[in-house]
Symmetry: C2
Subunit: 268 residues, 2 copies
Amino acid sequence: MSILDNLLADSLRPRRNNHLASRGGVQPLRNSHDHVVAALGSAIVSGTFAQGAHLPGEDALLARFTVSRTVLREALKTLAAKGLIVSRTRVGTRVLPRQHWNLFDTDVLSWHVVEGVESSLRAELTDFRFAIEPAAAALAARHATAGQIAQMRELVAAMAAAQDSRLAFAQADLALHQLIGQASGNRLMAGTGAVIETALFASFTLSSPVDDRADHAASVRGHAAIVEAIAARDGVAAAEAVRGVIRHGQERIDAVEQRQGEIKKHER
Amino acid sequence: MSILDNLLADSLRPRRNNHLASRGGVQPLRNSHDHVVAALGSAIVSGTFAQGAHLPGEDALLARFTVSRTVLREALKTLAAKGLIVSRTRVGTRVLPRQHWNLFDTDVLSWHVVEGVESSLRAELTDFRFAIEPAAAALAARHATAGQIAQMRELVAAMAAAQDSRLAFAQADLALHQLIGQASGNRLMAGTGAVIETALFASFTLSSPVDDRADHAASVRGHAAIVEAIAARDGVAAAEAVRGVIRHGQERIDAVEQRQGEIKKHER
DNA sequence: ATAGTCATATTATATGATTATATGATATTT
DNA sequence: AAATATCATATAATCATATAATATGACTAT
């Protein structure tokens, strides 16, 4: 389940009969386990539980969430597996320092962006993409199969067709970038999908090329350039085309942020 | 606990009283949970359980591992958190396709290299480092604090001093590369530590600069060049120095592989 | 002072029961 | 005949409670 999917699903899906103590019911619940994981995960990432701090003991957490010990412990194991916490007998459960958190985990990264992506993280995402994606595209130019290239062209067509739907555009955009990762033949580069997804989600919520006809055309053109460079087996051109697309996206975000900054100034 | 640490620890640590059915006792056990996680995790990564295949049901796994349902389920949640499996009521627990596996997780990556790193993965690791680490070093040239630079110099000194210890050299090497990631100020780049660690582990097991006096000197010089470029706030030079170091390491590995290939040919 | 012993708090593990849910078979309706 | 609803069943999800292992700090003995 992707972040983009969740965006829709969370707003459309009917609320389940809430068998937990109704505590506002703000978040849509999947099941107890996911609920606890999400609640604790966001709390940790947002700093409610500081790095190195002790989480409340099992009994306290049980009281807070109204779940069984089984569910709570499985949730804690999930968080431990993602590098957020470590539990030790007699000493308790502590929050690990940030450097242990697995930022390449979709959940962990998404907990960083529940309230929109802070601009510093957005910049880091861009820097990271700038390092990885051109290299991935260059490799894809060597290794992409004919089938993959055909798929890429379909996705570019889908982006072109999505003139009126931010979501449809973003989905095709994401799929294309992830397909390039796949086509690189490098499992690690393909594995950075969560990062790309979050970065696109961040830009998707702020603004979309779809909002402006010229922007939309430019973005489609840029992505088409990547695909055609790959099809032509020109790694250097593919890498450069990717840089252009990332740069273009960043500039659009920068413009929006600037405008928002202005508005805030006026409001004061 | 790092891979490098494990190398030592696993061979030195006395075997615990094995309260599980003694099934060979090959692996050193930490606790039941970790044991089950490691067993199932390696089995999945090695293909014993194919992608998309169903894991045996809870009862079957309970019988196989002789642990309680609690332990088994917590282990499965751990694997699910790392993207290896997904459990659904009535349908069972299935192995997810590779692209869901979180390769930036130290455990998952280490399960790929239990029997030495296959050379294709090694090449991918190198390509990935080549994309990320120069960029990280360039950023570190901008953002590293005086304290971090001092630490880097200490680590270079430690590498120089470790003339006779593969392990000590590898530890300082790893610490330096990870510190550069930290100093980049980019949380994602810093988060690729697991990848770097595995790559260094791979080269460490094959050969070490320590084995050859000239190699050792060259490696120390290369790393010193990185640090001094960062200290001089020269991002371009830092990036290039990193490329040199990675290239040098790769060449050493290539040479070893070539030699091993020759030997195998002779053996036939 | 140092090392050993012990009480205690906390997670780790075990067990048996109940509940929720997806699947496939079957019946019902259109 | 085809679509839809109902039901039985298998499987994981959850619950409740009990026991074991282990790290900490106080205490004791050397």
